[in-house]
């Protein structure tokens, strides 16, 4: 089977790249072995959140000072602003409305109740423009009875630290009593399914209106809007006080919605999405990939002019660590991982872990290196790339989307 471009990996970077290519009429196939880490997304995207343990306020300025191995430096600091705009527009075209600006970070509120710098946030989610203050003096933080993925005491504590007076009523609904029959499954995505029913949304609005009087804002965990944001808007219209959503622990409804919207848009543009299939074999001849094989299509090989590696990091198995080494499993590409296993990690699990910034090495055009030389018709994008650190630098989503667009633009021209 022949395509113009084959993308290995169907997460944020793969879908972004696929959409940008399909939009220009290219024949694109995405091979996606299982669902992706978008399911863990809070609903905010980050471009650059932190450098040397300091919050970044103006990402574009800070990007200019990053070292040469960072993917942003390969893109070129001067291109970041326009790619960031292209990314926001692409999300909007797919039906995902966001607010934010690459020149100045705003702050999202994490499911642990602290603020973190963010670049784009899904419309409807609570944000603040300042790390140490909220836009409200008095908020009503609503919890849903039985919901297990929301540590409300942490969140309330965090909001109080930011100077707000916080009430934490719990609403109990008959429709959720049903859902509580499987107590272990009272997760955001399961609740979202209950609220695809508009009368359940109305019941929730009534309960909130009864519980929250005299408040500047109602904050509620993001458990609505599974396929689209209709349920969110409906609830907002029916609740008297201004209402905002707060990110929950994963699987996150916001991430599921972004994933579904991007995939739908990609297919609408004519893209082929091979769901639940995985690349098994990549055949390289000289400095080029000639074809790939997948687990499901077996002998039928897939061919393309370009191949894009968007397989993600360790969790998505784009990178693998065993007792001997850290490696890229499909093509055995060069990585920047230290030889010595002792250097992969450091004391303190929550701290800066070196393995988090390991990944494949590329030239400045994102052609990955194999045995020291670049593969001419292969590009690597997203979290499989080395040289950045989504945890300590808060650059994960930005690297995924911007490297995807930089590569798509290069292929398109």
């Amino acid at each position: 089977m022949k395509f113009d471009t084959i993308i290995m990996g169907g997460g944020l970077s793969g879908l972004t790249c696929g959409i940008a290519l399909a939009k220009k009429g290219r024949r694109v196939a995405i091979v996606a072995g299982g669902q992706n880490t978008l399911h863990f997304y809070s609903g905010s995207m980050e471009l650059l959140g932190s450098v040397d343990d300091q919050d970044v306020t103006h990402p574009i300025e800070a990007i200019a000072a990053l070292n040469e191995n960072h993917p942003y430096s390969k893109i070129g600091a001067q291109h970041i602003a326009s790619l960031a705009q292209q990314a926001q527009a692409l999300l909007a075209d797919a039906g995902i409305k966001t607010t934010g600006d690459a020149s100045c970070n705003h702050y999202r509120i994490t499911p642990m109740g602290v603020t973190k710098p963010a670049w784009l946030t899904l419309d409807g989610l609570a944000t603040t423009s300042h790390p140490d203050a909220l836009p409200w003096k008095k908020v009503c933080l609503v919890n849903l009875e039985g919901f297990i993925d929301y540590p409300i005491d942490f969140v309330a504590h965090g909001l109080r630290n930011l100077g707000a007076q916080v009430e934490t009523p719990t609403v109990s609904l008959e429709c959720l009593k049903q859902a509580r029959r499987s107590a272990t499954e009272m997760r955001a995505t399961n609740l979202a399914k209950v609220f695809t029913n508009t009368s359940n949304v109305a019941r929730l609005a009534d309960a909130i209106n009864t519980a929250c009087n005299d408040t500047e804002a109602v904050l509620i965990p993001a458990v609505l809007g599974y396929d689209n944001d209709d349920a969110c808007n409906l609830l907002k219209a029916q609740v008297k006080a201004p209402l905002y959503f707060l990110a929950t622990l994963p699987p996150a409804v916001t991430g599921v919605r972004i994933n579904a919207a991007l995939k739908h848009y990609f297919q609408m543009l004519g893209g082929r999405f091979l769901m639940g299939d995985s690349v098994e074999n990549v055949v390289i001849d000289g400095d080029k990939v000639t074809h790939i094989n997948t687990t499901k299509l077996q002998a039928m090989s897939l061919q393309a002019e370009q191949y894009v590696l968007a397989t993600g990091s360790f969790m998505s198995r784009g990178l693998v660590a065993d007792f001997e080494r850290i490696y890229e499993p499909l093509m055995n590409l060069d990585t920047d991982a230290p030889q010595d296993r002792e250097q992969w990690s450091k004391y303190g699990m929550m701290g800066d872990q070196p393995y988090m910034s390991c990944g494949v090495v590329t030239d400045k055009d994102f052609h990955p290196l194999k045995d020291g030389s670049p593969l001419a018709n292969v590009y690597a994008i997203g979290q499989v790339l080395g040289g950045h650190n989504p945890i300590t630098m808060g650059d994960g989503t930005g690297v995924s989307m911007l490297t995807a667009l930089a590569v798509a633009n290069a292929i398109n021209s």
Binding site: Q35, H39, T184, E185, P251, G276
Partner: protein, 418 residues
């Protein structure tokens, strides 16, 4: 430091679960029926307990459709539905009810019904009969039963097609399945038309039994195993002695015989699996390799919404059907988002499941309404019943669309058929 790494390999990749809960997001049953604990809980989580003590087996596991959507979604390749089915097989003690036996024995009931098709169709449609089925048999009264054809596919084939099949240069065997044989011989006839035009003679297997998917779903594993052995013996003969690969027109039968036989039933399909394929995949491969050519009618126009059936998705083969459909000029293809239709074989026929079944399908039905297609296309026969009943839109197998779109005469010439 010693550098040894033990591979820990468990049944169905059970130990690979990283507890991300993504599978539960995509389970159609957990979405609408809160009494079902969902794939993570019923699969890898529950398995940990069941391994300790079988008393942790939960009867709610029988609500699982075995649709495999959880497995497709799992980023760690845990074979969740296999774990669930295996647990059912091991711990489930009840004897199947008469109703379950009747729904499961598709070929027994089929052969009785075909003989008296007009009477069966008539009486299956009657209100009082439906009421009896509803109360006595617990088959939901809202269901329209698929109609039984008055002439079996096999009978038609022997009378009208069999003789000329030897005249072709290439040959395949066709596993038609119960649905084509008893309910919808037209699809089998379409397959013969298309394959003949490509220069392939079509033959029946020496012995064909129902693939057993309904038996598995209703807990009749021994019977399923027996039928599986018969099918594998016939297919081995076809493949090894007659050099005829086996093709099918049902994604579910194909999936069952390729994957559930060895994984669940322990039926060995070595030597068969790689020669057993869905017709759309078989034809796509021939076209892709330049071995056959297709000529299409110029006046053909159709807007088609393709629905990926659950087992089709698990096999990862939808691309073959959709690419084949995309070859047809004049065909406008819309790929529907992946959602289960809710019927899952015999599941939706049972009264206790009717509501769940329709609720599961709701999203797919509204997407179909919105797409306004002339036809829906899918490779699964039970999806066809469900979608036709629930949306009123006619459903065609891709092979039937191909039969309509091909310029048969020209295609025959292109492939050297006289």
């Amino acid at each position: 430091m010693t550098k040894t790494q033990l591979a820990s390999i468990s049944d169905h990749n059970f130990e690979q679960c990283l507890k991300c809960s993504i599978c539960t997001v995509y389970c159609p049953v957990a979405a609408v029926n809160p009494a079902y604990p969902g794939p993570k809980q019923a699969g890898p989580d529950g398995e940990r307990y069941r391994l300790k003590d079988p008393k942790f087996y939960d009867e709610a596991l029988k609500m699982c459709l075995n649709c495999k959507r959880c497995e497709v979604a799992c980023p760690s390749d845990v074979r969740i539905a296999d774990l669930i089915q295996q647990a059912r097989m091991k711990h489930h003690s009840h004897r199947p009810k008469l109703r379950d036996m009747m729904l499961a024995s598709t070929d027994l009931v089929g052969s009785l019904a075909t003989v008296v098709a007009p009477v069966t169709n008539f009486s299956l449609g009657l209100k009082p009969v439906k009421a009896v089925m509803d109360t006595v048999m617990a088959i939901d009264k809202h269901r329209t039963f698929p109609a039984y054809a008055s002439q079996k596919f096999e009978t038609w084939f022997r009378k009208n097609a069999e003789k000329r099949q030897n005249e072709f240069a290439h040959h395949v065997s066709y596993f038609h399945g119960c649905y084509v044989n008893y309910n919808f011989p037209q699809l089998g006839q379409d397959l013969v038309t298309v394959m003949n035009a490509l220069g392939y003679g079509v033959h029946l297997l020496e012995k064909e039994k129902c693939c057993g998917v309904a038996l598995i779903a209703n807990g009749m594993y021994n019977q399923a195993r027996k039928q599986g052995e018969t099918n594998m013996a016939s297919m081995r003969k076809s493949i090894n002695q007659q050099s005829r690969p086996v093709i099918t027109t049902s994604s579910t039968c194909t999936f069952t015989m390729r994957d559930e036989y060895p994984e669940l039933l322990g039926v060995n399909n070595d030597g068969v699996r790689n020669h057993l394929s869905l017709a759309t995949r078989f034809i796509f491969n021939l076209v892709d390799e330049g071995k056959v050519k297709l000529a299409f009618r110029h006046d053909f126009k159709m807007r088609v919404a393709y629905h990926t059936a659950c087992h089709m998705q698990r096999m990862g083969w939808a691309i073959f059907s959709t690419e084949l459909l995309r070859m047809i000029p004049g065909l406008e293809l819309i790929e529907l988002d992946q959602n289960c239709c809710g019927i899952s074989g015999t599941y939706g026929f049972k009264k206790e499941n009717y509501e769940t079944s329709q609720a599961i399908g709701a999203k797919l039905f509204s997407d179909i309404d919105a797409a306004k297609p002339d036809f829906v296309s899918t490779d699964c026969e039970t999806c066809k019943w469900q979608i036709e009943m629930s949306t009123g839109v006619k459903v065609l197998n891709p092979i039937s669309i191909l039969a309509q779109a091909l310029d048969i005469e020209k295609t025959r010439q292109l492939n050297g058929v006289n």
